[in-house]
Amino acid sequence: MDAGRLCRIWGLVLGLFFAAPLGYLAYENVRLRSDVAGILAVARTWGPLRNSLLLAGAVSAAAMVAGTAMAWATVRLNLPGRRFWAALAPLPLVFPTFVGATAFIALLARGGLAEQILSPLGVGALPRLQGFWAAWLVLTLFTYPYVYLPVRARLRHLDPVYEEAARVLGRRRRSVFATVTLPATLPAISAGGLLVCLYVLSDFGAVELLRYETLTRSIYANRLFDRPTSVAHGLLLGVVALGVVGVERMLARRRSGGFSATSDRPPPLTDLGRWRWPVCAAVVAFLLLALAAPLATLGYWAGRGIANPHRRVGAFALDGAGIAASAASTVVVSSVAAVVAVLVMLPLAWLLVRRPSRSASASNLLVTAGFALPGIVVALALVFWTLQVPFAAAVYQTLPLLIVGYLLLFGAQAANAARAAVGAVPRRLSEGAQTLGARRWRRLRTVELPLMTPGLLAAGGLVLLSVMKELPLTLLMRPTNLPMLSTDIWNSTESLFLAQAGLESLVLVAASGLLTWLLVLRRSEFA
């Protein structure tokens, strides 16, 4: 059997594997004879569903506005320190949303920074940060870079010729923006917005910590005592998420829009005149809120803990050795997941680039759909499956199953990056090696793998980053004796061990920041 055939079979197996969680949830609904229609009809479903959609819509809208405004301001306006703000703007990406929520809870907590600053002004105890607006604010602040990055790239490379033509034809700046710039940027804005929407639908950590009743939260809350509701909500959330991906695909097909976006002419700057400083102040204020405030508050609590080394319980308690152990096991588990994901996905990537076919695309579609599934849905499917199937209970809360869960969640990321890696080996080089007499394995070893290595490392790094930031699956499926940073932060925050949470968060943010810089930002123009 030749390599292509093997790869195709592997691709089909992968496709089935990635379709399994949602399929299993559907099956489970039937098996439990749960009254799906009945569950979906009651208010207990409508509330969380409505909340999920409301939050996803509101955060996407706010992120699109904030991301576009920040990109516009840093690319097209003559702000003082433009490049510096532009480099800072994508950084909130390094905060997992549950860390962001932790930071804001800690900011307003008793004895926190906000109280320290506000109490001399006569402001008393601050309310606990919770509910819709809290979730909206936190999720917007930490997801807007998904809009900012593509819009910025678009604005930088959009050929100025269109806007110049519009002006010469008699349109004022505002009209040019509305009739030319905005339509040209809209594909980037909408793509970013849909990504944010998917992210918010899947988000579990922030809404749980901020106590806003969405589908993810109800799945988590009902998983033990009301399994039919949990399963039905899981299926519902999965379907909604797939719907969002479907819309994204549909829009992507009409995306390019035909604007030439390959310009190397620097984009024209608009002189703001006397508005220069106020607009700059607004940009800085936004960055203070999204970047400086969470970092400062995490650092503040970590500092308080370090300054009080003898407290064993309460907000200032700090367990340095525990953090080190968690960090180490987090890195090990994430690395294993990364290596597994790249190895498993490489054949599919190779197939998609070198032997594109309908079956390969179908496999890819299923894999991508797996990526769209919220972590909690995948976790739910795996947990119920292991508890249900005979002998499977043996793997419940073991490392291999945890890795399988990560693979289901982030396999698509690995596949995409691996595709780029395979694409970096021009077919003519393989053919050249072939005409020089190299057989399959020699070609792979001497030509293809060396050229693919940087791309494969990037693919692995992306999975590493995602696993480190993942919460719900880790929370439900990690072996009980395996400490992970994300679940530690979670537990510390729930118990209001804020110093501990602060230090753990800083470690996680530092690691994720390093990886984000290496893998995402360094490749863009921020290098």
Partner: protein, 415 residues
């Protein structure tokens, strides 16, 4: 065709109307009305095209001087080709006229209206200048009709005007097509229609045919030339292509290093270039050494008549087509001084080019007759052209040192 009043009143676009008030044009009356008395304004009057005056415009980008003290006037209804190698500043000059770039010094007038000058910078949207760029600049998200109507504001007769200008560029009925469904040539025609629709006061065409392939370029050059003529348009065509400059312009202005070096009719610029650099930029040129004696110059090709007074050591411009080769065997006299050897030949279909070594110089000849000689043959060269143009010998030496900005090397091997 509407008369002048309705033509200009047909564009009550708010974006255009407001600045007109601001710059006092409504007080002075529409500039189009004032051109009516002029002798040559009969056609331009109808479409509202005005004259362009550029006075002392300079522009630097950091240390590099892009334009220095440019003066250029174009009467209404005339087309001038601005010819120069890339990087000579011609596109910058166009962007200054359009208002997309701000000049350091100098003034730009269209008609009597000051568009740019000390303390004045009329925004590009208020200038009423049509611009046709080298890149494809049609809005890809708008239909052909919406593209063409883009500059028309909220005029009532938009649809009629769109149909009218599309008719002019031979694309009647294309309103609902999308730009990406058109060929490159059609897209560029739509761009022309879009620039013409708001009845601009003048047109700037910046390398408009550069992206098209050769035969389409020729076709569009001819058509656009005819269209501009029939509209009585005032236009500047920026190009680095000599043929295009000659075909398109009533006048050609040659630019180099941010200055206009010569302005004149195409035949004048080709036949009497003001410098060896221009001579070799606008066409192939041989320069041979000579001694000027008033109206005659002695050269290796014999004594030639000159167009103007020449004295001392000079370099004589000899176009390849002015050289005739005679095979030595058939020529009766054996004047060794004009005798050369064919070094290489290039057959290009409609003509044959030969490089002939004459002493220590190699001269390029071009003939549309089938060659009877072969490489290595001895030939006699005869000058068969207009009264010769001469330059001081030092100027040619300078050209040889600096190059001429064209890809082909000039055959300036005279010592």
């Amino acid at each position: 065709m509407p008369n002048a009043r309705s033509a200009t009143a047909g564009v009550p676009a708010p974006v255009v109307a407001a600045p007109r008030k601001r710059f006092g044009l409504s007080r002075n009356g529409d500039p189009a009305d004032r051109t009516r008395g002029r002798v040559h304004a009969a056609t331009s009057d109808r479409n509202g095209f005005l004259d362009l005056r550029i006075v002392g415009v300079s522009k630097s980008f950091g240390e590099t001087e892009a334009l220095s003290e440019i003066d250029l006037s174009i009467e209404s209804g005339r087309t001038v080709s601005l010819l120069g190698p890339s990087g000579c500043g011609k596109t910058t000059l166009m962007r200054i006229v359009a208002g997309l770039e701000v000049a350091d010094t100098g003034m730009v007038y269209v008609g009597d209206r000051l568009l740019a000058g000390p303390g004045t910078h009329v925004a590009p949207e208020s200038r009423r200048i049509g611009l046709l760029g080298q890149e494809r600049s049609l809005f890809p998200h708008l239909s052909v009709g919406a593209n063409v109507a883009y500059g028309l504001g909220r005029a009532a007769d938009r649809a009629a005007r769109v149909a009218e200008v599309l008719e002019m560029v031979d694309l009647a009925g294309y309103e609902r097509r999308m730009p990406d469904s058109l060929s490159g040539g059609q897209q560029q025609r739509v761009a022309i229609a879009r620039a013409l629709a708001p009845r601009p006061r003048m047109l700037l065409l910046d390398e408009p045919f550069q992206a098209l392939d050769a035969h389409l370029r020729l076709e569009l050059q001819t058509e656009v030339r005819a269209l501009l003529g029939s509209l009585g348009a005032t236009a500047v065509i920026v190009t680095h292509d000599q043929d295009e400059a000659f075909v398109m312009g009533d006048d050609v202005a040659v630019m180099r290093d941010g200055r206009i070096r010569q302005r004149g009719k195409p035949s004048e610029v080709y036949g009497h270039p003001e410098s060896p650099w221009i001579a070799s930029f606008v066409g192939d040129a041989n320069f041979i050494p000579g001694i000027g004696r008033g109206s005659v110059v002695s050269t290796p090709l014999g004594d030639l008549g000159t167009c103007c007074h020449a004295a001392g050591k000079v370099a004589v411009l000899v176009r390849p087509s002015s050289l005739r080769m005679v095979e030595v065997e058939t020529s009766g006299e054996r004047d060794t001084s004009t005798q050369g050897r064919v070094e290489s030949m290039r057959f290009i279909g409609h003509a044959t080019e030969c490089r002939v070594r004459l002493g220590d110089a190699v001269l390029l000849t071009r003939s549309d007759r089938m060659p009877t000689v072969r490489v290595g043959d001895e030939v006699t060269l005869c000058y068969d052209g207009p009264p010769a143009v001469t330059y001081p010998a030092a100027a040619v030496a300078d050209l040889r040192r600096r190059g001429n900005g064209r890809r082909t090397e000039p055959s300036t091997l005279a010592r």
